[in-house]
Amino acid sequence: MRIISRREFHEFSRMMKNLNKKGSGLAWLVAVIILLTSYSSARADDAAASLPIEELRAEVHALRQEVSRIEEENRGLRRMLKEMEDDAVYVVVDTESNRLLLRQGNDVLHAAKCGTGSRSAIEEETGRGWHFETPLGSFTVLGKERNPVWIRPDWSYVEENMPIPAGNDPDRLVRGVLGKYALLLGNGYKIHGTKWTNLLGTRFTHGCVSLGDDDLELVYKSVRIGTKVYLY
């Protein structure tokens, strides 16, 4: 912004010197007029250099409309996101830290130590092998069982160097080892109890997620068929 020109400044200085020398009131007068005139002219220059006021008004108006438009769009998006939200309880299992969370929205309803797949492998003489890893991804509770019965799979016999019985052999049905409850996740994977409670918080299972009795009961009673289970 130009306040005063060089020429005006020199003129002003000269007048001031004159004033000091002679103490003339007239010199004061001229000096003040020069100052006021230059200030006024500087303001006029500024105004001329910037946007005409009508354009400024129009710009502000357009910006207001832009704000309204984006606010409206954001309201719509927030509404859409709210509608997509559900308030359902869901289960999250962190297979690295072996923690299970029961969550609802932003809240953690319950946290528990759990056991997950040991990531070990066995192989039988025929070359058939098993890798004990908890599957990762998004699952759904497909069924709920009380006092579940464990149907011993082949690997269980291979692990103990036992002969593998026929598929319908009653020896395969074992009661009590999965705790009082089980949540079925599909492909034989479950969230169930364990007698190895001292190992909870580590990877020791054959792929299922195991919980202590109290935690299992709470989770079992909090979820329903269709509840989402996220394993990562």
Binding site: L56, V67, L77, L81, Y232
Partner: protein, 174 residues
């Protein structure tokens, strides 16, 4: 006597000049201009804020449909959240460093370009040139030394490292 008369005349002319300068309506126009310019500035800032907000809302909408886990990092609170389809899987806290304080980070989307795991304790999640997430004692690979860093605990680093894949997204919120 003459000097006193002169002074009175000077005073009168001075007052008159002031009145005349004010009478041209310049101050009024200037006041309106100032107000408009101020409003323009406020509105521009508001638009910037709303646009940022909209970008995050669009990101969330997009993530509902995406089959990928992602991170939302809140700079002000230094908190992070691992999410999947807008459901929280894990909450964690992070630290910023002296070299890269919270003010270093602007809001917006990031893409996980690299999972560095040359050694178990050197795991890092690298989001282009924008961000590195690492365990606090991990040394950042030399080629990524100039990228802003945040650090998490060793346990959380391990969980996060395996939870997200290259190509996953993160969003930095102010």
């Amino acid at each position: 006597m003459r000097s006193s008369m002169n002074n009175k005349i000077v005073g009168l002319i001075f007052l008159l000049s002031l009145v005349l300068l004010g009478a041209d309506g310049g101050d009024q126009a200037r006041d309106e201009r100032d107000v408009l310019q101020e409003q323009r500035e406020v509105l521009r800032q508001r638009i910037e804020k709303l646009t940022e907000e909209q970008d995050f809302l669009l990101f969330q909408k997009e993530m509902y449909a995406a089959d990928s886990k992602y991170l939302v990092l809140t700079i002000a609170g230094k908190t992070g959240r691992l999410m999947y389809r807008n459901r929280a899987l894990k909450d964690f806290r992070f630290r910023t460093s002296k070299n890269y304080p919270a003010t270093t980070f602007g809001p917006g989307r990031l893409l996980l370009t690299k999972k560095a795991d040359e050694k178990r304790e050197r795991r890092a999640l690298i989001f282009g040139n924008a961000l590195v997430i690492k365990w606090k004692r991990t040394k950042v690979p030399p080629q990524e030394a100039d990228i802003p860093v945040i650090s998490v605990t060793k346990k959380e680093m391990r969980s996060l490292f395996y939870a997200v894949e290259e190509g996953a997204q993160a969003y930095l919120v102010r």
